[in-house]
């Protein structure tokens, strides 16, 4: 540890102003602060500080997303072997490793493109590297179908980092959730790669693992099947454990629940937002059930599709969600209700979570404005009463 510190101290002058590697200062600074807690001490204000910082917060979210990622990898393999009819003879390792090989390039592309842009941007602006993309970078691969081509993914990541985040001022200033922006970009620009019944299962073997599936196979998501009026061929247990086709990380309610526990335990996600998304979704689904407008029951609506994943990882993004406590209830309920309404009432889209969250992102400042305005009105009222 000491040797590493001394090494860093020795090469540090190269990156400082006037040094020959000054163009990479942000990268050096980013790496140094990841290895060592910065030794900078306070100059004004409080002399002691809480040990929490944005690196720790983002790392916790990444850890929370890992169960969904790992299960997603296994499920990619599982679906491939299942469709090929070879599930019985495949070992756990074979199934998982195929999924790993299919998913890891997406994670790498997402991080390399996204972090590359972030590093370059930070250097250009002479700022410290912001950690927000650590989370976005793992969430994007989790919300796309496994067959999404890497080059399309790369464009989507670049779009989301530049257009949806950095031009607003970076992490903390963006209006829309960057991961969902990437997905929305894909969804509207390359619909054939994002929806339908042939994108959800990996079709080609990789390095001898997995199976080549014949052309013309179909495996729609349960919501896709419902959308076209077909019966869902899965049990509720399948839906909860996650052995169904879908975006890589969204299928397993159990894996997402582990993430939810981590996020709520550490207090990083707002329980108000998360709880009210579920409450809003359940109430709306129950109403549709009572009106007989949807063929599946309310709990199937909750466990299917991206509802849980969106509620746990997307809606709770503190930057794009409502920031007042009361506002978070409204914001969450709006997402839950909107997602189910889109699913049931819009014939075009079988899934509504992404659009619901982006819609609520747009309204979050308005919700906060109304909540804060009540406080302002109270103060104004006190003033006028006093002046009478």
């Amino acid at each position: 540890m000491k040797a590493l510190r001394q090494y860093l101290d020795r090469i540090k002058p190269n990156f400082e102003k006037g040094g020959k590697l000054h163009a990479f200062q942000s990268i050096f600074d980013g790496l140094e602060t990841f290895l060592f807690v910065p030794n900078t001490t306070s100059k004004v204000g409080t002399h002691i500080h809480d040990s929490i910082d944005s690196k720790r917060i983002m790392s916790m979210v990444v850890i929370a997303a890992l169960p969904a990622l790992l299960f997603g990898m296994y499920n990619v393999g599982y679906q491939n072997y299942l469709l090929a009819g070879k599930l019985a003879e495949a070992s756990f390792f074979n199934v998982f490793f195929f999924g790993f090989l299919a998913v890891i390039p997406k994670v790498l592309v997402s991080y390399i493109i996204g972090l590359g842009i972030e590093f370059a941007w930070a250097q250009w602006k002479h700022e410290e590297i912001q950690e927000g993309f650590l989370v976005t970078g793992i969430l994007i691969p989790l919300i796309i179908p496994v067959n999404c081509p890497l080059w399309i993914l790369a464009i989507a990541v670049a779009f989301s980092v530049i257009i949806c985040k950095e031009i607003f001022g970076g992490t903390g200033m963006n209006i829309f959730n960057p991961a969902l922006c990437a997905r929305a970009f894909l969804f509207f620009s390359y619909p054939s790669k994002m929806t339908g019944d042939s994108v959800w299962v990996a079709t080609n073997s990789i390095l001898g693992f997995g199976n080549d599936l014949p052309d013309g196979f179909t495996a729609a998501t349960p919501l896709g099947e419902i959308g076209v009026g077909a019966d869902v061929p899965y049990t509720v247990t399948d839906m909860i454990t996650g052995f169904i086709p879908g975006s890589i990380g969204e299928t397993s309610v159990i894996a997402i629940a582990i993430g939810a526990i981590i996020l709520l335990w550490t207090g990083i996600a707002s329980w108000r937002t998360m709880g009210s998304v579920f409450a809003g979704g359940i109430i709306t689904a129950v109403i549709f059930n009572l009106l007989d407008m949807t063929p599946i029951s309310w709990y199937e609506h909750i466990v299917l599709g991206g509802f849980c994943f969106g509620a746990v990882f997307m809606a709770t993004d503190p930057v794009t969600s409502a920031r007042t406590s009361f506002g978070q209830y409204v914001y969450g309920a709006l997402i839950g209700a909107m997602a189910i309404i889109i699913r049931v009432m819009n014939p075009g889209y079988p899934e509504g979570m992404m659009l619901a969250i982006l819609f609520a992102n747009m309204l979050a400042p308005l919700i906060d404005y109304c909540v804060v305005q009540t406080n302002i009105n109270k103060r104004m009222k006190r003033l006028t009463q006093n002046n009478k």
């Binding site: 204000g45 500080h49 040990s51 903390g172 990083i268």
Partner: protein, 449 residues
Amino acid sequence: MANVIKLRKGYNIHLKGKAAETKRSVGQSAEYMLCPDTFVGVIPKLLVHEGDHVDAGEALFVDKRYPEVRFASPVSGTVCNVVRGDRRKILGIKIKADKEQQFYDFGKKDAASLLGEEVKSALLEAGLFGYIYQLPYAVSASPQQKPKAIFVSALRDMPLAGNFEFELQGNETDFQTGLTALSKIAKTYLGVGKSQNSDALLKAQDVEITIFDGPCPAGNVGVQVNHLLPVNKGETVWTVDPTFVLFFGRLFNTGKVNLKRTIAIGGSAISTPEYVEALIGTPFADILKDAFKRQEGIRLINGNPLTGIKSSLEDSVGVKTSEITAIPEGDHADEMLGWILPRTNQLSTSHSYFSWLLGKKEYDLDARIKGGERHIIMSGEYDKVLPMDIYGEFLIKAIIAGDIDKMEQLGIYEVSPEDFAVAEFVDSSKLELQRIVREGLDMLRKENA
């Protein structure tokens, strides 16, 4: 039965090196220094020159804007040096103390029989009026405005803060006289902590007593004002530190200005944390002789670690010095992989650490910021530790944006920088909230002047 207000928001920070309740007296120092900067908002205009002789209580300088506000010398002696900084700013007035102290006699007065105006002019004459602060702006009070009420908080609940009850022992009469005097000017409220039980506080006369039951910053007078009588635009309330109430009481009881105060010396870098009795203006070097555990890598703070000012042994006891604390500087801590390791020796409000399971464990924290400055990312962090009816995060954003209308609407007149001290501690974005609030207040003060 006093009114009890229960506060849920806030956070108590327990640090190592809390002062033991034993008192040591610091003998007379050779030189004393009064720093005008410790009176926030005052622009000093000197009344004395080098070589002049003053008695204890005679004015050294006045406020340029309100020349009737005089500032008393803590000792009798000869003005030996006026320390100046950039653009000849007066940093301090040094007085070489007489061997035999002479007190200027302002005459004993019976506070109970005085009128409000008489109390005010007595304080102005004795150079003590400037010790009264005001809301809005959290600056030394203007004598031209009539306050709606006066607030005194006897609770000091910042980490390592001096216990006022300990200072009060033996000074009960002066405290009561001071309160009585203040109550003549305007209705006076005394805020007391739940754990405080001395009779001088709970049975104080001429004031309305409120008990505040809650974590830090429940002791902040600004927080108490917000719950009792929030400040509206155009109104003024005065706030008085309980130690200054003792000064006022002494003035009326003895006719003299006696600026002796009790100061807690604490922090993990102090070898024997205890209380000392010293005059305002006493050099730190005399108080802290052999006080440190080690000589290198120490952050000396004039005040407590949340609201105090970084200082050195050349500084002297200021107006707000109810404690002097010393913690490790920590600039060579070289802690690895802070973003993932458990770090059980670190204090955090976040549950991604374990300190919340360890109850009242005392921590040895250093002066590191422990992270880089970011935009505000997490929501509700400030509001969890700001027990006021104010949206702290939105107010901070309005100040950063320089939006004066919004600041007013969001209640900037009700806050002082110290109310955001705990929020600054917990902030994961590592913003300098107290500096931001001070800048906002200064902006508005200038705008409304």
